[in-house]
Amino acid sequence: MASAKNIELPGQRTSLKRNEMKTFAELGFPGRLIAVEGLDGSGKSTQIYLLKRWLEAEGVKVYFSEWNSSEIVKSATSKGKKRELLSPTTFSLIHATDFADRYERHLLPLLRAGYVVLCDRYVFTAYARDVVRGCPPTWVRGIYSFAALPDITFFFKADLEVSLNRILDGRPKLKFFEAGMDLRLSTDPYESFRIFQGRILDQYLAMSSEFDFVTIDANHRVETQQATVRQLVTHRVDFDQFRRNSPLPLPPPVRRNPSTKSKPAFEEPEEDSAA
């Protein structure tokens, strides 16, 4: 395992240019970070859950972190969302706060300790969403510049209609921010959601090559996608370097709703980060 001396801790403002931004491996961290990105309903949460189960079974030290899940920040975020208090600027900043909290308190120490950290959404979610909401791209990227890049980013690319239907079929009541209603794209939440998701997809596609996204065809069957994911992870990550020595795995992150704890992630978590 690399000693602390060889690790270059990411600065707050490394650079905004991709070729000057570094991944955790490039910074000399012993751990690796794998992120999944994609639209709501693209199946990314299911895939990262299955990846986690497999890595755990392989005896790898794994930690899973979900967008918008920092305990202390969440109460402000949900208040803001419920009471529709958020503007594009505060929406962006509060999610950045949430991310920073998880990054500094969990991700960095775990990556220093040689964990494989799995992130359901990473900075790219903010890059895409905040820009669609009208925040200047350089401002958003500047704020998140304290974070190093993932070692692997899987982008789950489903046809827009497929993602929309997965969400709209199962969960007819759309939340205000989730539907992008704050953008006043349409008075109809469903129509608003469609336009909003379409714009986010455009943003993802625009940054896909810049950040070396590994694109997974999310129209395929769950198993087919998972096979591709596992194959790539095996290829890029040498499991022997990440073996768990202690018999006890890290306890799972505390979830708000205990009833969802045992439920396999066949669908997006109830309150996707998303909104």
Partner: protein, 242 residues
């Protein structure tokens, strides 16, 4: 009997804008009001000076609104709780404060300015930036973050030597505040030493910021009235657009 003066000064329009890209959709030319900021450490007399300025401005016929740090509807409670437990890392705390600032900017400052109010800010982005700089945050990162902030029409920094500040703080509460002493930085285990050291670092950070942001440094170690007199003179000039 002397006739009461009814002729009032109508403040000139501000031509000042945002430091960076600002808030999406806000046009600075729509903001008729004036923005006055008073900066300074706890115990520098900020609140006393602001209260006195409000009194004077309102009697002079100007509508005022006051803002400060940690007063937003959105995150002030959570921020308070997080700080009590001292559980947030520096980037997180920095962004939390930025969120608090942006919320007040959008929901209090901007509407008030549109309505032609004079906004008095009891501390502004400079305190937040100085605190973060002392904690090792990158100044370019902070400048980008606070590109959302409006440029004030006047910024006064009430400068007080740390040795005088410690006397004032102790005279007021008989103890030193954990955060105002920078205890999270581990400068010293001794509260008194840490306070002096931290406040010295803060002063240095303010001087650095003064170079980029050009605020007026006011000697705060004088009688309240004398300081207020100086502030009023400066503010009068600002209202007249001088």
């Amino acid at each position: 009997m002397k006739k009461a003066k009814t002729k009032l000064v109508v403040p000139c329009r501000s031509d000042r804008s945002f430091y960076g890209d600002g808030i999406p959709g806000v046009k600075p030319e729509e903001l008729a009001g004036k923005r006055i900021v008073v900066e300074g450490a706890d115990g520098s007399g900020r609140s006393t000076q602001i209260a006195s300025l409000v009194e004077w401005l309102e009697i002079s016929g100007h509508a005022t609104v006051q803002v400060g740090l940690k007063r937003s509807t959105l995150v002030s409670e959570e921020l308070e709780r997080a700080q009590d437990g001292n559980i947030l890392s520096r980037t997180t705390l920095s962004l939390f404060y930025a969120t608090d600032f942006a919320d007040q900017l959008e929901n209090v400052i901007l509407p008030a300015l549109k309505a032609g109010f004079i906004v008095l800010a009891d501390r502004y982005i400079y305190t937040l930036m100085a605190r973060d700089m002392v904690r090792g945050m990158d100044i370019a990162w902070l400048k980008n973050l606070y590109g959302v902030a409006l440029k004030p029409d006047a910024v006064f920094y009430l400068a007080i030597e740390p040795n005088d500040l410690v006397q004032r703080a102790l005279a007021k509460t008989a103890t030193l505040d954990y955060w105002e002493s920078g205890m999270d930085l581990g400068l010293s285990r001794d509260l008194f030493d840490s306070f002096i050291e931290y406040q010295t670092l803060m002063r240095m950070a303010f001087r650095k910021l003064q170079k980029s942001y050009g605020f007026t440094i006011v000697d705060g170690n004088r009688p309240v009235d004398e300081v207020n007199e100086e502030l009023r003179k400066n503010i009068e000039a600002v209202l007249l657009g001088k």
